[in-house]
Symmetry: C2
Subunit: 235 residues, 2 copies
């Protein structure tokens, strides 16, 4: 209640009549802060009636929730099961070198994490300014260098990690290490490209596009690992 009293003192300057000095960063920050405060107060009053609230969720029927959730889960499960098709294709290889299969979750997870960081960065930056081909080139140049460095370091780490558990499996460690390097480089660009596409199309990434991307990236990672292993270990 006290906060409300304080807020009444804040002088609201209509946008049209603002003075020239309001263009200073400090004044703009102050103005944005005031507006955010007012918006929060109004939204709090609205809170219980807004979309996405617990009240709305509790009022939604089970069948409605299932109809919203199940199609995605079913579709993604079937898509993810393609991993079994890919790995099944390399059954002889994996049967002989089971250790490759043991490191599938590590490759897949590292790809996801490596792609997520520049992806989140790009999404945030896109929501906070303009984007043009000049910035895109600069972004790609920077991320290429970062991917090469990151990929190399993680590849060395993965190599040592495999040898730690299986000291005699140097060839397998090499294949896993190369797959990590390729996956990190690929994932960073998938992350940036995906963020730009989502921004351009205006889709809500939380709504299924993100898990879809993760699943596709996972399948790419598994294919990469099996292909590299087949090349190195069949020789």
């Amino acid at each position: 209640m006290e906060a409300m009293e304080v807020q009444t003192v804040v002088q609201v300057t209509p946008l049209g009549s603002r003075s020239a000095e309001l263009d200073e960063p400090e004044d703009l920050e102050k103005r944005a802060f005031e507006l955010r405060q007012q918006l929060e107060a109004v939204e709090e009053q609205l809170g219980k009636r807004e979309a996405g609230s617990f009240e709305e969720y509790f009022a939604t029927s089970y069948t409605r929730l299932l109809r919203d959730r199940l199609p995605w889960l079913v579709g993604l499960l079937l898509l993810q099961s393609s991993a079994a098709l890919i790995m099944g294709t390399f059954e002889n290889l994996l049967d002989k070198h089971l250790v490759i299969a043991f490191f599938v979750p590590m490759i897949v997870g590292t790809g996801g994490n490596a792609g997520n960081q520049p992806g989140v960065m790009t999404t945030r930056a896109l929501s906070r300014g303009t984007f043009d081909s000049h910035k895109l080139h600069k972004l790609v140049r920077r991320e290429t260098l970062l991917a090469l460095v990151t990929g190399t370091l993680l590849a060395v780490l993965a190599f040592l990690r495999v040898l730690l558990q299986y000291p005699s499996k140097i060839k397998e460690a090499g294949a896993i290490s190369i797959a990590v390097f390729l996956m990190v480089n690929l994932a960073i660009f998938i992350g940036v490209a995906f963020s730009i596409v989502i921004d351009r199309t205006g889709a809500d990434p939380a709504n299924g596009a993100a898990p879809l991307l993760t699943t596709v990236a996972d399948l790419v990672g598994i294919t990469l690992l099996c292909a590299v292993a087949a090349l190195l270990l069949s020789a």
Copy 2:
């Protein structure tokens, strides 16, 4: 520019002097909309100087970016490599029933997706209203029922999917199917619990907590699958 002209017409009502009728949902919505419009205009002017913008990213050195990103990637890679330790423990089982390893990505992915949906829902609802133990009980009751239904349907689907590729491996299909059921039920609660913890602690879930959760959930899923398979297939 035209949009700016229009905005100057909008009458800004200071919060303190608003009339009683403003408490009507429609008026509150209108007021929130006006405030959001003004905030966006101010933020647009601020845009290029704000945290998270491309300008800020381009001004950040490579070493700074690597120092921000690498520790997470290294830590998560090492944590994810625990999957190889778990699967290595079940080496004899996986050697005899390689098909179990082929469906690890499907189990792990389905767990992630199943937990993500109620997790996002809970996070959104928490940001839009109050939360108490009554609502928590109701939420858990609803999600338990949803998890049982969702888990059962996905388990049947997984069973059929395994048989489609390996018609003779009924026991393996059964183990994978049971693991899917358990994983979905567990994942939904991990998702809800995680959202509540994040909300209480005020941490930014994008910052590493989310990939950490995913990784831990992945390891739980792999352990579940191997344990169920060991129980069913060793008999």
